[in-house]
Amino acid sequence: MKENNSLFSETGRESLWKRYIKDIPDDGYFLTLSCILGALYPGSEAMIPKVYDLFGLNWGTNPRPESGWSCCSGIAYHGDIMPIEGTLLTVARLWSIAQEIGVDTITMSCVTSFGIHCECRDLYENEPGLKEKIDRLLKQSCGREFEIPKYILHTSDVFYHYRNQLRDNFMKFQLIDKKTGTPLNVVDHVGCHYSKLFPEEHSLGGSEYCEVLSGMATAWGGKEIDYPERRHCCGMGFRQCMISPNRAGTMASVHKKMKSMSPFQPDLIITNCPGCQVFLDKEQWAIYEITGKKYFIPVLTYQEVAGILMGWDPYGVVGIQFHTVPVEPLLDKIGTPYNPSEAWLGINKRQVY
């Protein structure tokens, strides 16, 4: 009999992993968008429907123009100006629209939203009478009815689900250094409200070994880089970043992460949370101004990485001009063609500078 020297048996590993995976339906998605991503990286938001359409998926955002998606009110809830009942009602309305569309899978591009939807479902499951109360209030206020959706997915779950098909059918490039042929070093930063709130129920891989981003990065040719502060929060902190005098806490958190990851020479940071994306990217400038240290590691959303590898126009589709840390050095490594003189052109290539 062959001796098994591995720390965990394969069956044990399989059974552990099953605790941290979730069902991802292939099709039929209600999409709600993000107020942060749409405000700062609109290209990332616009690429979600483009990718859904690549696969010919059945999806929608609203059945009628007047029955539109809204923000989930999550920032207001975590920023403490929205009582939980207001958020439960806002989310119930979104679930009601999904029902109107005829789907039971919600996909949202925002990690705060993802956490909020999961929290609402958790409260309904654990608070007797809450569903009836919110049913009553929703009906009284706007005549709607809702059911708790079967699947709550972040859009990064969907990209993860389709990662191999994206690579095999649509990607023209890989996360490989064109000159050396070696995989690029990819650092993932998974949003806290994706992996830490309900790690067993809703996060692919749990909070410690969350695979949603690293799974995409490795499938697309990159090398997953571990580093000590990998799971540290970016410091966005809702009221900490958005009320200017508090933003030092955000900067300090980003600085801590940069110091920790830089010895591993990352070529890029990949994110799935709009808030993390903003501050990991933008605060690198503040850190440079304050300390003189140029980290300048490109920070990209998973949509942007996918778009670049598919050869989509970096300025006209992906929107890399919205980044504080220039993404062009990464494009050079990958070997994606781009025309730097088009970076700051407006609509129809109008000269605005």
């Binding site: 059945p63 309305r93 966005m236």
Partner: protein, 355 residues
């Protein structure tokens, strides 16, 4: 699966009034000519950081002289003015109205009217009763507080990995101990302090608690209580909620998103660097270039929200107690501003910048 699903409408063709796209006109953003004259001569369309003390006096005098109906009517007449741009309707006045003392005054008055018109929901009645009860009662009855604490053994795992505790004078373990101690005076003192406002709300503590407690949920509940009781104005970080109420609350109430793409102004976001400035100066062009709908009918990014969608959401926020909470934050701010001998607009800027 029903067949009512619509594909993403990047060109806004499904929206009313969009049936005849193609009359694009120029690539230039429409200049709001009919407003430009007013804008230049009237300071109430300026951002707060551009206003002098004299401007503020003019604005306050002007706003105080308007009836509720007048201010609301002017706001919506301006908001709904539209121009054709790049194959869709662009609403040039959204940017002029947002974040101004004018919009804040409109919101205050309009929300009072909504509260009177739709009455007290069962949620508002609960919060009103809770306001008069001891803090300990809240902790035993508020849904988030109840679900956040099983029994803390004070191991400190939450604090060991808390990102806020690393940089600020903040300790979630002590907060959980104080809550568990059920001492009314100690809890009141906590609610009046800066401490509860330091939490990043990241949830790192929830994952690691061996007793499945949820410290960040408890802190969220404490922050609500602090505002319901009016204790938040006792601390610098707490009274920032007045700015938050108008920042996120103003965006929700008027644009159905807690963040609006014009919020990231260069003047208040110097830390975002020079490329942000390049982008922000022509943001509408760059948004449109990648298919977004900046202040336009549509679905993507900072779009003009359909009035019926906005109306539904406002009803929900009223029923869900948000307007009650906002009115409360407003009253506490007004009281403190009066005590300090400053106007409510000066108070708004003070709390937004101090700390």
């Amino acid at each position: 699966m029903t067949k009512t699903m619509k594909k993403f409408d990047l060109k806004n063709q499904a929206f009313p009034g969009q049936e005849t796209p193609g009359k694009n006109g120029s690539n230039e953003l429409p200049l709001p000519d009919h407003i430009q004259d007013i804008k230049d001569s009237c300071p109430w369309f300026q951002r707060d950081f551009n206003l002098s003390e004299k401007d503020r006096e003019v604005i306050r005098k002007y706003l105080d002289g308007l009836t509720d109906d007048e201010i609301i009517e002017i706001y919506y007449r301006m908001r709904d003015k539209k121009e054709l741009w790049d194959g869709g309707y662009f609403y040039p006045n959204l940017q002029i109205l947002f974040g101004t003392p004018f919009e804040r005054e409109k919101d205050r008055r309009e929300q009072k009217i909504w509260n009177e018109e739709y009455g007290e929901s069962e949620v508002v009645k609960w919060y009103k009763e809770a306001k008069e009860k001891p803090c300990v009662w809240w902790l035993e009855n508020h849904i988030i507080a109840r679900h956040s604490l099983n029994s803390c053994m004070s191991c400190g795992a939450c604090t060991a990995l808390c990102p806020a505790a690393e940089f600020l004078d903040y300790n979630p373990r002590i907060i959980m101990e104080t809550v568990q101690g059920k001492n009314e005076d100690a809890i009141t003192q906590l609610l009046k302090s800066d401490t509860i406002w330091y939490c990043f709300q990241c949830g790192s503590c929830k994952t690691k608690c061996p007793r499945k407690n949820n410290p960040f949920g408890m802190i969220s509940s404490l922050r609500q209580l602090s505002q319901i009781k009016g204790y938040h104005v006792y601390s610098i970080r707490g009274r920032q909620q007045y700015a938050a109420r108008h920042l996120w609350g103003g965006n929700l109430w008027n644009r159905a998103c807690t963040l609006y793409f014009r919020n990231i102004e260069v003047k208040t976001h110097r830390d975002f660097g020079p490329r942000h400035e390049l982008c922000f100066n022509h943001k509408e062009e760059y948004f449109r270039k990648i298919g977004a709908c900046p202040d336009m009918d549509g679905l993507l990014s900072g779009r003009k929200v359909h009035p019926e969608t906005l109306h539904e959401l406002r009803r929900l926020w009223q029923a869900g107690g948000a307007l009650y909470l906002w009115e409360h934050i407003e009253d506490s701010a007004k009281k403190q501003a009066d005590e300090s001998g400053i106007t409510i607009d000066e108070y708004h800027d003070k709390v937004k910048t101090e700390g």
